[in-house]
């Protein structure tokens, strides 16, 4: 059946096909080369797709299967607004200092506590944001204890990438997958969070093994930590109270969005609106100025570039090749998707990667189950483990190298600023084995849960 399907469904490889494919390849190559800013590449690539009429503007902006996924865009912007409003309250400093005190000033214990806190916060906030909020405190703690800050920085980035995998809103690939496959927050909580809890257990054991012996401090230095009073961090208790109420309501909204038939972006937008309204004295101009517009436009551009190759049939052609390779065996497909995604994400940005994989997996599903459509097709029992494998591979894979995830790039930049550069090699030495370990754990999880038991 596969060979026949491949033959009949080969795309018409006309001029449009090659133009769209060339734009796609050159854009991805330019993003990887880092010679031109990735946002500029995405905008130029998307403009070419439109100017050369590979996509009509209507398709790029208003057709769900071809163009910009506004659910992702609005969700990202809303979450950024919420964080911008919450940051000045001092809640993140409070949590981190409290964590250091839970660690009782013991360097290794603090590292483990910080890894858990980072993973947990990352599950709800963007990874880069989490790292920007936690690692300054870890550096302060490392200075107070007079220990090497580099392991703390690396662990912070790795933990944020692991934690971000746990929920629908934790990491952009999950937001994209959730939106494309119409999966709910609860779906992610039910399927991915347990996997991440298991992965975190292994991660904590691993960091104890790697850094346990090396991190030593003196008793009098521990006293510096214990003398800190985390309550001094809270700068604005009234805004904090409002934020926590809104955040709680929003979390309830996410949990119930499937039942309420509200898209995640709607929930996030409502949360941002409520917080803007109730936190009162904020400067709206400044709050919006801090939204990471380059990231937002990177997404918009990528969606259009990928939409171009979806329309001309490149993605469908790729999916035919994948089915031919895996012979339609879904366990093989899941495993291949997970490991291929992991190594691909270690090298390239996982956002463009997932933007490409999403339509490819849907095309693959269309060929495997030609009689199903809509949500029945997108959430076909056979396809679900493939989605989870994509999410696990793409998110955990970011840990492999210093450039695998934005959070890694941030900590490398921070360490350089302090005059303690983490080289590409040093990051690889910790990141790659830990990535392989976590993906292996995830593979076993998927195998047991969906193929052995399911």
């Amino acid at each position: 059946m596969n060979a026949g399907a491949a033959a009949t469904q080969s795309p018409a490889m006309g001029i449009q096909f090659w133009t769209a494919t060339a734009i796609f390849i050159f854009s991805y190559a330019a993003i990887m080369s880092e010679k031109i800013h990735k946002t500029v590449v995405a905008i130029v690539g998307a403009s070419l797709v439109l100017v050369l009429r590979i996509l009509q503007q209507h398709e790029a902006f208003h057709v769900e299967s071809l163009g910009v996924d506004w659910n992702v865009i609005i969700l990202l912007i809303s979450m950024m607004i919420i964080i911008n409003l919450m940051r000045p309250t001092g809640i993140f400093e409070y949590i981190a200092i409290k964590g250091a005190k839970w660690g009782k000033g013991e360097p290794l214990r603090i590292m483990v506590v910080f890894a858990l806190i980072t993973a947990f916060i990352s599950a709800f906030l963007d990874n880069v944001t989490t790292v920007l909020l936690i690692s300054p405190v870890t550096l302060l703690i490392a200075d107070a204890l007079e220990v090497d800050p580099v392991p703390y920085l690396i662990s912070c980035a790795l933990a944020s990438n692991i934690g971000g995998t746990a929920t629908l809103i934790g990491d952009p690939p999950n937001i994209m997958i959730g939106s494309k496959a119409h999966l709910t927050f609860l779906d992610f909580l039910y399927h991915l969070s347990p996997a991440i809890i298991v992965v975190m257990v292994f991660y904590v054991l691993a960091i104890r093994l790697i850094w346990g012996k090396k991190l030593k401090t003196r008793e009098e230095l521990k006293a510096r930590i214990m003398a800190m009073d985390e309550r001094e961090a809270i700068k604005d208790p009234s805004t904090l109270r409002t934020s926590l109420i809104v955040l709680g309501a929003m979390l309830a909204g996410f949990v119930l969005h499937g039942v309420l038939r509200l898209q995640p972006a709607t929930v996030a937008l409502a949360g941002a609106g409520a917080l803007l309204l109730f936190s009162g004295k904020n400067d709206v101009q400044a709050t919006f100025a801090e939204v990471e517009w380059p990231t937002i436009f990177f997404f918009i551009g990528l969606f259009i570039i990928v939409g171009g190759v979806v329309k001309v049939g490149l993605i469908k052609w790729m999916s035919v090749r994948v089915i031919a390779l895996t012979k339609g065996n879904l366990f093989v497909t899941s495993t291949v998707v997970m490991w291929f995604s992991a190594f691909a994400s270690a090298i390239i940005d996982n956002i463009p990667y997932v933007a490409t994989m999403n339509p490819m997996i849907i095309d693959m599903a269309r060929q495997l189950w030609p009689h199903d459509t809509g949500v029945h097709l997108l959430q076909h029992a056979g396809l679900m483990p493939v989605w989870w494998s994509l999410a696990l591979g793409a998110c955990l894979g970011g840990n492999g190298t210093a450039i695998g995830a934005s959070a890694n790039v941030i900590v490398v930049g921070m360490s350089e600023k302090m005059g303690r550069k983490i080289t590409f090699k040093r990051f690889l030495l910790y990141g790659m084995p830990l990535m392989i370990m976590t993906v292996a754990v995830a593979t076993v999880y998927v195998w047991i849960r969906y193929y052995l038991l399911g």
Partner: protein, 162 residues
């Protein structure tokens, strides 16, 4: 009056390769004018004698201020002795790393109002003065400009009063 009438001729300067330890020592002992010892900022000249930057007291403060503290509100969570240990760590770092580049300069024949314009708009308290040859010949200090203003005011005021 012009810049050259008020400037203090250049005597001491730093090089980008000086350590911060050497730099603070020179800031402490540099002579300004006849009787005053100690300055709050010095020009940094590259080996060819060109102006590479300025190193001021604020730059020294920045050198001991950990970069992570700029990212979050962590001022309440510091400890006694932290500043001193950061200062010791920074002592051997190079001036080049912390000096302010892209310095605003004036020419010897720049009118004083032009100098004040720079001081106010760029929030600087001292301006390197560039001579005809293109090299730095002196420093113009806010304080000396202030004295010129004082002189002008009191001269007139004195005459009116009499």
């Amino acid at each position: 009056m012009k810049a050259k009438d008020l400037m203090v001729p250049l005597r001491e300067y730093l090089t980008p390769d000086n350590t911060l330890k050497e730099a603070v020592n020179l800031l402490k002992t540099a002579k300004r004018g006849e009787e005053r010892v100690g300055v709050k900022g010095l020009p940094v000249l590259d080996p060819a004698g060109r102006l590479a930057g300025m190193l001021s007291m604020t730059d020294i403060l920045r050198a001991v201020f950990p970069s992570y503290m700029a990212l979050m509100e962590l001022g309440e969570f510091t400890w006694d002795g932290m500043l001193e240990s950061m200062a010791k760590k920074a002592a051997d770092k190079k001036v080049a790393q912390f000096m302010t580049r892209g310095v605003i300069t004036v020419r010897e024949d720049s009118p004083l109002m032009e100098c004040v314009d720079h001081m106010i708009k760029h929030h600087v308290r001292r301006l390197p003065v560039i001579g005809a040859s293109g090299g730095i010949t002196g420093m113009l200090y806010e304080r000396d400009v202030f004295f010129a203003i004082t002189g002008a005011m009191l001269d007139d005021g004195g005459r009116d009063g009499q």
